[in-house]
Amino acid sequence: MTLSYVLMQNLRRNPLRSVLTTVAFALPMAVFVAAISLVVGLIQIGQSAAKELRLAVHHKTTITNSLPEGTRRKIEGLDPQGRRLRAVCGMRWFGGRVPNTQNTLTSLASDVDTFCEVHQDAGLTPDEEQAWLRERTACVVGRIPAEKHGWKVGDRVTLESTVPPYLSLEFRVIKIMTEASRANYFYFRRDYLVESMNQVGIEDSRCNIFWVKCRTPEDLRTLQRDIDAEFANTPDETKSEDENAFGANFVQALGDIPSLMQAMAVVVVIVVALVAANTMMMSVRERARELAVFKAIGFHSRRIFAIVIGESMMLALIGALLGVVPTAALLTMFPVRRLGFVPLASLEVSPIAVVGSIGIALLVGLLAGFWPAYQALRLRTVDALRYLA
């Protein structure tokens, strides 16, 4: 027999209470791991985007207002030697959806010549780059829509646009993008879109956004300033933002999800700590005389303190495992990204969130057990025996 065995057996003392406390740990920890996974997912996408050193240049009023195609040349003209910018890639919103489905894909028609340079995180190999340049109908698809619709490289797919002139275009998949920051996108060539529009009598080569790939973070800041200055007081004033700020506009349109999740996680932790502390205090109070006997037979106060803290942490750990493991398994088996909802699409179980949740649970167990353990430490053996014996 070891002291850890004694700890485990102590949890059997009042099985219903132990079960209820464990469940009180497990359920919030399940929510906690999901919330933290989302936060971690969004942060990782943000970090990945920041690494790419891209500026999003769009119309100052709103992204739905398009900018002339010539905007690209003017931006390139700000740095003709390419000392600060590497490439500029114009994109136009297509708003395509798979026929007979409801969800619109994040589908964008992209400049053919600079796409690979500006979106290196799309991860095209030299052969894939050649295919992109060669095939007018080439499309590069993120892992999420590819999994959802069962697309593979080489497949021919059709998208129907949800914006005028409601074109229906056929593409050939040349690449499935696995990078988290690109996992939800569908890119195809803008020249294909422009030609298709011409065929139905529409002359429109405007773009919704120009992505500007910069060389250094400092270049990104100066170009952001210079580009907006260049177009100031023109009919097409621009707003330039780094990729994180640009992405946050979409996420925050649904509320400040990361802050909301973090706040929820903190509340969850506090509630769990209070529940656990209450349970441990009751448990210690009920066992005061038993703990006094432990002291009488030679257990030092500090060892009693460790026993109570250990019991609390054990309860927390079991609760956390019961909450975190099934949640992680469920989210892995049934990923929320299949719903295609942009912020929630980031909800994949993150190892950081799992380890973090278990770490937080242990910390909560430690905090919850501290006061009861301190009471046990201070317990005067004589008093406990006199009044309770």
């Binding site: 027999m1 004694v6 038993e290 006997v293 037979i297 030679g298 257990f299 053996t381 006199r386 014996a389």
Partner: protein, 242 residues
């Protein structure tokens, strides 16, 4: 382990409640020889349990000196006292205080967890202690599967498993019927006569006290008188002084 003698010199003990001093023991002098079996009687509040706690190092005297074997208790830190207690003193309580979720054997093993000792040695000691109290066949029973007398015997096994020199029993038969009380008292006699343990037992029951070699009476914190048990003679060297 050989038996230890106990010597108290001019021991005072007061408690404080709301800054009010409540004296419990008034300059007590007592000598208990090695291997003696002493019963301590007296009305409630006479200081019996306080004296037992002082001798067991669970509390410290307000004044005076307590020596158990070679240990001068008033000079020891709490940490040292705890360590000393685990090796030299076995406690038996009226309400047994066994851990309900552990088996009899595991309850007996508890004090041994404080020692660096191979599991096989722990097992051997537990089996021996349970055999001494006649419960070897109940080793795997939990307290709620045992009678009151059997629970107290497990508590006694827990008290002797570390082979202490001194056993301090606080009303060990207080919660038992006459037959079970007799069993427990016979067991204490056995520990005293066969294993040479020095036993100090607090009791209200004259029949229980009659099993001791000597009976000391406390009243209002002073040693009122000492009786020699005519049936059981005191060990050589054991005497009391007030």
């Amino acid at each position: 382990m050989s038996a230890a003698d106990i010597e108290l010199s001019n021991v005072h003990k007061s408690y404080y409640k709301d800054r009010l001093e409540i004296p419990v023991l008034h300059g007590l002098n007592l000598k208990i020889g090695p291997g003696d079996f002493v019963a301590m009687m007296g009305p409630s509040g006479s200081g019996k349990s306080t004296l037992l706690h002082l001798i067991g190092g669970l509390d410290s005297p307000s004044d005076g000196s307590i020596r158990v074997g070679d240990a001068l208790l008033e000079r020891m830190t709490e940490r040292a006292l705890t360590a000393w207690r685990s090796r030299h003193v076995g406690f038996i309580f009226q309400m047994y205080h066994l851990v309900p979720v552990l088996t009899a054997a595991q309850n007996v093993e508890l004090p041994l967890l404080l020692f660096r000792m191979p599991a096989s040695e722990r097992r051997r000691r537990v089996e021996t202690a349970l055999s001494v109290v006649g419960l070897a066949d109940r080793a795997d029973h939990r307290p709620n599967q045992l009678s009151g007398g059997q629970e107290q015997r497990v508590a006694i096994a827990r008290a002797i498993v570390t082979d202490p020199e001194v056993i301090l029993a606080d009303e060990p038969t207080g919660d038992l019927d006459a037959r079970m009380s007799e069993e427990i008292l016979n067991l204490l006699n056995l520990l005293n006569s066969e294993f040479g343990k020095t036993i100090l037992m607090v009791t209200h029951d004259p029949r229980a006290a009659s099993h001791a070699r000597r009976i000391i009476h406390l009243d209002k914190g002073v040693l009122e008188r000492t009786e020699e048990n005519p049936v059981r003679q005191p060990m050589a060297g054991a005497r009391a002084a007030s």
